[in-house]
Symmetry: C2
Amino acid sequence: MAESAKAQETSVRILDAAEILFVEHGFDGTSMRLITQSAAVNIAAVNYYFGSKDGLYRAVFERRTEPFAKLTIANIDALEREKTAPGAEDIVDAFIKSALQLGSDPALGGLTFVKLLARAYVEPHPILKESMPRRYGEVVRRYAAALQKALPHLSETEVHWRFHFLTSAMFSAFAGNNVLRLFMEQPKTNARDPMQVSRMLMPFLVAGLTAPAAN
Amino acid sequence: MAESAKAQETSVRILDAAEILFVEHGFDGTSMRLITQSAAVNIAAVNYYFGSKDGLYRAVFERRTEPFAKLTIANIDALEREKTAPGAEDIVDAFIKSALQLGSDPALGGLTFVKLLARAYVEPHPILKESMPRRYGEVVRRYAAALQKALPHLSETEVHWRFHFLTSAMFSAFAGNNVLRLFMEQPKTNARDPMQVSRMLMPFLVAGLTAPAAN
DNA sequence: TTCACATTCAAACGTATGTTTGAAACTATA
DNA sequence: TATAGTTTCAAACATACGTTTGAATGTGAA
């Protein structure tokens, strides 16, 4: 057992560097040498602390996963404590607020982790297929259940679909993976301020959720 | 000049195999050997026909880009020919119809190309940064302009944001990159039928677009 | 059939990858 | 200061990567 300050510093530097590089270049596009150079540590340090590149990937997520889950659950808890029958707007607000808190707090991972999550949707790694649902399953269930109560005119299936749309739009917007940037030279939506993003998001998502059922 | 049937067959087999593999494993995660084995061609064939792996990536997109752009433009043209003042619902319908046509027509790339586009949002390759906006800029401008007319109560910026949300949700849904799948063991939204997806999408997107302005 | 060209192929190219090694340097306890 | 355990380091490991080569094969026109 060491846990010396210096040892922690090394493994944390690796995690910080890897988190950023995985966002920028993806898992396969990020080499061990790039990570260790960026973190200013010897290349063997990754295997020493995390066993393998896969192990590092897992560790990068595990560091952020629990705090973010706790945050979102705390927000829905607080909402349901304050209001007996929260509406769709309240629930969206609690959900967006969670992402906003995460994005603005570097201690939780900040925007980097939001982007990493957004990338993980599309670029799945076997390592995440089991660990993420285990921890975030509860989060989804809680918000989906609250939405179902607030939107009794919708079937369970339709509520899940709308929650899916909501999550896609929200993470994509916060992560700055501007879909339009791929299609336009100078998109008008390049504001990076998360508060501005959430201000634009709210009316869109609330209206979308509360819309009449399909058909 | 050869353009023999066999030569075409080889380069097309490579394109078909690469398109699928790039969706599954991304650009960096897909090796030349995997592509050529999957296409049942010699490994040197990729460099012979496309110059390099980058050249192949470009070719995979170039084959699909133009037909899809033509399709979406044709749909907005038809709409504006039929209706003098199309509403948000009409415009969303035309946009979704384009993705639906693309997704259901293997000759246009089918769902595979939809997924490839969805992946390209998050995993940008320098090669796409210039070619995509050049061809899709017009598409975005046309739909954004039509939406602006239909939603005069919204600022230009807000229209662009909402179009961005719309596009994120739509592509994510069609591509089947189920965000909730990363978070739940058995999401209730695993229907893969694009028609069913668009039925769920429509009311959500139309309501979101027509919502009152922020603040 | 001949010939010029297009296409295929097995093999090798140099480089980059993730990982391992074993010794050196450091740290904390006695 | 001596010693045991932790951490760092340069170097090398085997393997995989994208690419190139040069000969073999196939193809269509003269």
